[in-house]
């Protein structure tokens, strides 16, 4: 534009009209989502290493159907199509990583459709769902195909003593404890993503470091596990140790990727503590007294139901409001 020095009333302007603030932070929804997807890469790699590269088909199926469902519902509802923001792909990916290896592809597809359809879109789409969509899909599959989903595969580098049963199932039904080291590395039976605790931790710590995941939820879950798991262990040493609880099953995966889902976790800092501790308590009770060996999914879903209440009652006090009340 040529600059002029004369005053020209009603000079043509071509600028954006918005309200303050005029600056924005660098994060956007889609950046966040794709970043989480990236943080899952170690877990995917671990899954493919321990259960064979063919497991990639489960992941692909889940992601494709999740994105497909999202797009078709948005087309039907005549809403803006937002598959590229990565949230549907992330849901599909998370769902796939909670499934057992060699899970049937058709059932995976059903799970993806349910996760996006019933878990997310029916509440109005991204941001409005009450329950973690991937877990809704997983819980649906667990209820629909209970046998398939508890059929595990022996990991690739299994020594003879390792069975295909997950450490938790081995404990639940046969009272066999698995050592921590194989659980941490991932050389045990289990769902695709949960198998390697180290891979999960790498991704999780990355997310915490960049500030996508609020550290309070994983930390409170782990502390809660020490507290409640330890309590039950002290009462009866037959029960597993807190360490076993943390490394077995999908506890870490849930703590890093499932419970911390922005939409379905509390928005207040105090609430996050309540949420994390609640998950651990419910989880310990289910693992010890329940009929199922694993309960991370159920405990997170259960606490998801409480999130609105937690949010409501852990509302931060408005600046200066306390003092006013004290004065009265």
């Amino acid at each position: 534009m040529e600059t002029t020095t004369t005053i020209e009333p009603k000079q043509k302007v071509y600028f954006d009209l918005t309200t303050s603030p005029h600056l924005h932070s660098k994060w956007t929804t889609s950046k966040v989502m794709w970043f989480v997807v990236a943080a899952l890469v170690p877990s995917i790699a671990a899954a493919l290493t321990f259960f064979g590269w063919t497991q990639i088909f489960i992941i692909i199926t889940a992601v494709v159907f999740a994105v497909g469902t999202e797009v078709s519902i948005q087309v039907i509802r005549k809403k803006q199509i937002t598959w590229f923001d990565g949230s549907a792909a992330l849901t599909g990916l998370l769902l796939a990583l909670t499934l057992p290896p060699n899970f049937s592809l058709s059932a995976t597809a059903i799970g993806s459709v349910v996760a996006i359809g019933l878990g997310k879109q029916i509440f109005g789409g991204l941001g409005y769902n009450i329950f973690n969509p991937a877990l809704v899909g997983r819980a649906f599959l667990q209820a629909a195909f209970p046998v398939q989903i508890t059929t595990w595969l022996k990991p690739n580098f299994a020594v003879d003593s390792v069975t295909s049963a997950t450490p938790l199932a081995a404990f639940k039904f046969d009272k066999i404890f698995t050592d921590t080291v194989p659980m941490a590395i991932g050389n045990v039976g289990g769902s695709l993503g949960e198998t390697s605790a180290i891979a999960v931790l790498i991704g999780g710590i990355l997310l915490i470091a960049v500030g996508i995941v609020n550290w309070r939820i994983p930390l409170s879950m782990i502390l809660g596990m020490f507290l409640f798991g330890g309590m039950f262990w002290l009462i009866n040493p037959q029960n597993p140790t807190p360490i076993f609880h943390i490394f077995a099953g999908s506890f870490l995966f849930g703590a890093m990727f499932m419970a911390t889902d922005w939409v379905t976790s509390p928005i207040t800092n105090k609430g996050m503590w309540v949420f994390g501790l609640g998950i651990s308590l419910v989880l310990v009770v289910i693992r010890i007294y329940g009929g199922l060996p694993e309960g991370v999914m159920y405990s997170i879903l259960f606490m998801n139901g409480f999130v609105p209440l937690i949010n409501r009652y852990t509302r931060p006090t408005i600046f200066g409001a306390v003092k006013e009340e004290k004065k009265k």
Partner: protein, 187 residues
């Protein structure tokens, strides 16, 4: 006036209801009783295929029937025993031989297990394992491998708890019956 009207109306309705129900019941009660008896009988003879007649043994604390065959000689006992399953009570009719050392068969009377999963305890592959099973010292549940001993039962995949509950109930029932036998209450 108003008060009596109110009271009279409801009382009258109550009386009519009571009366008419009583009449319907007069018609239905025998049939219901018959149905129930047939039901019990069916279950008793299901676990003792050669049974023809049964006697209830009273004062045992649970239902025990002594079963007789065509020749009117005792073929064993049928007992009903209940316990906790995966989601609720499981009630089982257990058939035992006279010496209480062999199970003839079992029949699940009531259950509220997970449909399609826990309910496999109702199906032949699981149930038939109990035929000719030796409950001494007690029945054992095995997983993943075929049973090799006469007192072993294979668990249902994905429904370990339900399978285990049935085993526990049968074991407990047999144990109680044995105690009774020792006390001589079965005579």
């Amino acid at each position: 006036m108003k008060v009596t009207h109110i009271i009279a109306t409801l009382t009258l309705i109550g009386i009519i209801a009571g009366g008419s129900l009583s009449l319907v019941n007069n018609w239905a009660a025998p049939k219901i009783a018959l149905n129930q008896k047939a039901e019990t009988e069916r279950a008793i003879f299901l676990v003792h295929l050669d049974g023809k007649r049964y006697e209830e043994i009273k004062n045992t604390g649970f239902e025990v029937y002594k079963v007789f065959n065509q020749a009117d000689s005792s073929v064993g006992y049928s007992l009903v025993y209940a316990g906790n399953g995966f989601q609720g009570k499981i009630k089982i009719m257990i058939g035992l031989t006279e010496d209480l050392n062999k199970i003839t068969s079992i029949e699940i009377l009531e259950q509220s297990e997970t449909p399609g999963l826990g309910t496999k305890i109702l199906e032949a592959p699981y149930k038939n394992q109990y035929k000719e099973l030796t409950p001494t010292p007690s029945i054992k549940l095995v997983k993943g491998v075929e049973p090799s001993n006469p007192n072993e039962v294979k668990a249902i995949t994905g429904a370990t708890i339900s399978s285990r509950s049935v085993v526990a109930i049968v074991n407990e029932g047999v144990k109680r019956l044995k105690e009774l036998q020792i006390k001589g209450a079965l005579k």
